[in-house]
Amino acid sequence: MNQAKAVYKPSDEVDFVIVGSGAAGGVLAKELSTNGFRVVVLEQGPYIKPEEFSHNEIEVFAQHQLTNKPELQPVTFRKTQDEKARLQPSVMYGRCVGGSSVHFTANFWRFHEIDFIERSRVGEIPGASFADWPIRYADLEPYYTKVEWEVGVSGLAGASPFDPPRSKPYPMPPLPVKGSGVVFERAAWKLGYHPFPAPMAILSQPRAGRDSCVNCGFCLGFGCEVGAKSSSLSAMIPVAEATGRCEIRPNCYVHRVAMDKNGRATGVEYFDAKRNAHLQRAKVVILSANGAETPRLLFLSANSQFSDGLANSSGMVGKNLMPNTAAIAFGVFDEPLNDYKGFAVSRVLHDFYELDHEKLGFFGGGGLDARFDATPAAFALGSLPPGTPKWGKEFKKALHQNFTRTFEIFCHGTSLPVETNGFSLDPDVKDAWGLPALRMTFRDHPNDLKMMEWMSARAMELLDAAGAKTKWSEPVREQQFAVHLLGTCRMGNDPKTSVINSDHRTHDVANLFLCDGSSLVTSGRGQPTMTIEALAFRAADRMTAMAKRGELGS
């Protein structure tokens, strides 16, 4: 039976205040409230219920219904620290209850053992601040399983020979195979690879009061009307609210972690929808604001003790941004795939997960998926073969012939951590609240571009083997746009080179925790959300144990 929803006053000292309700914040809210704690979640975006989601691309894309709004929160970009950054929308993240988990593709790959220990395997890489994690795959395995069963992941255990060990099968069979999956799978077998049904955070069967996927085709970029996509909004927040101990407070723009004279956090300061200022008091502060906004909040919270940003004695806050790399190749086929129906991805290939860096001359690896994720409008503007006329009879003909017959192979790969890549406060530009805007500095490590060139060539071979009548690849370019916001407050045992310890506790402030993409030490192979959620489940366990031992109370 559901309890009455919790409502707290900002002056109530709750046990935990969590900034952000996305992949990490949603899991933490659910776990901590279920464990008996009083929790307030502050979300800067609106609380849109699943039944209110639409397919209206003007609202969703042009007006940024679910994501950060450049007109409110400008972002500046520069490639190197010597340049002056210019206004450029270079960061995208979910800005609504549920965060980016509302609009994501829902590819849910576990990290493999190598992702945690790759620095010791590969050795030093010039220009990279490569490090091992303070935890191993085995430490996270139970929590990956928890994600699959509690958040809801469809898949087939044992289907990929490259998968790391697992303690339990998936709770649901994989989603149906799409035409792209069949064509891709046959080509991959022909070339001796090992394609497998994509693990997806989308329900293939009704589960926990939620309906299964109806294959509407408006998936990536959109919220799911039927709640089949396993977002924090659909899977975690309702459970947290049902405890009667967790309040989700939307439209709250947090701008500072409040501190006392003894170096303890006392809560967070925020503006409500009417821009009135408040201080939500809490025994423990958790920032799950994403890998851009979490470091920004620490910078905005600088004080006399931490002049370079709160909890930044290491100087590592905001550094080592790893947005993952991407390479894309398209193929057009003779018969209709109708891949616009359904979710984006039904088949994945992990044969290139661990490449031989000595033989190939570059480090890293990746995963390939066969997908179609464009709406008809996005397709017509961006997915027709190069050289197709942009308007007129021939354009219309190409649209008519290609829309149902195209899919893409998306190669997702590693980004190396580079200390000069990351986020800082722009010295000139301000957001709509008058606070310094986010500044992104980024240039791909040359290694990563080499790897993506190699991946792109493999994708083209696969399209060839698949019998594509037309195929092309997008040129691999230096990235200037980040969606995966990873590594900017990295985890580690050494307070001199990391921001948080393996319990997600900042080395500098005993009751301040960070848990989101910023915690990651390496970038995996391009699908970080499942790992962010597994870390959040684990962090909640650690915090619960600490709180029960009386280590977190003021």
Binding site: N56, I58, A62, A159, V182, E185, D211, G217, K396
Partner: protein
């Protein structure tokens, strides 16, 4: 902050009605108020499908916009920009999400007419030109300053007009009708997108009769 507006036009209603056919009664009862509201809005939208007047464009400008849009997506045996009601989509857009583009349209349209009368003396405006003349005019304009790949319609203030109207036209032609364009799913008829919002496999040609991962894998391994 402005709350997102919610439109419930025919596509949305159809989605909801189809969904209700696909899933359980619990979902229907939980969603009933939304479904009822959507149906009501859809009814209103259907009865006022063609706006009585334009909100931003003048009647003359609207005629020009429709002529350009019809060159971008012409009508043949399948519907084009005209049938999709693109001019109404653009007019509404110029009042809402694309209000920044109003000067681009104003200057671009004026310049295009000037160019038309220069090239075809006696022809008062682009819309009055023959289809062949219109195509030639746009080809000339879009190859002008072509080196940088940008399409320009001439002097200060009108730059990138063609690219702006091209994107608006294509977007309005193919976006979900809940966004205000794609009338009667005209654009989806061209793309081949079934206007439904619930589908069951097989989706297309290649996944029909596919034996599934395990059986197909065993078969592939035998070879």
């Amino acid at each position: 902050m402005k709350e997102p507006t919610r439109t419930h036009e025919p596509a949305r209603r159809q989605f909801l009605l189809q969904v209700t056919g696909a899933v359980g009664a619990a979902w229907i009862s939980a969603q009933w108020p939304a479904i009822a509201a959507a149906a009501q809005h859809a009814h209103q939208a259907a009865s006022t499908k063609t706006p009585a007047k334009f909100e931003v464009l003048t009647a003359e400008q609207a005629r020009e916009v429709e002529a350009i849009a019809s060159q971008i997506i012409p009508t043949d045996d399948l519907p084009g920009a005209k049938e999709a009601g693109i001019v109404y989509f653009i007019d509404r857009g110029l009042k809402t999400f694309a209000s920044d583009s109003v000067p681009v349209y104003e200057k671009g349209l004026a310049h295009l007419n000037q160019l038309t009368t220069t090239k075809y003396p006696g022809t008062k405006s682009f819309a009055d030109a023959t289809a062949e003349q219109q195509e030639a005019l746009l080809v000339e304009l879009t190859t002008e300053n072509g080196a940088d790949g940008h399409r320009r319609l001439g002097p200060e203030g009108s730059s990138d007009f063609f690219e702006t109207i091209r994107i608006h036209t294509i977007f309005g032609f193919l976006a979900d009708p809940s966004a205000g364009g794609n009338r009667d799913y005209a654009g989806w008829k061209v793309a081949g997108r079934d206007p439904a919002y619930t589908f069951s496999p097989p989706f297309g040609f290649y996944d029909k009769n596919y034996p599934g991962w395990q059986a197909a894998k065993a078969e592939a391994e035998k070879k």
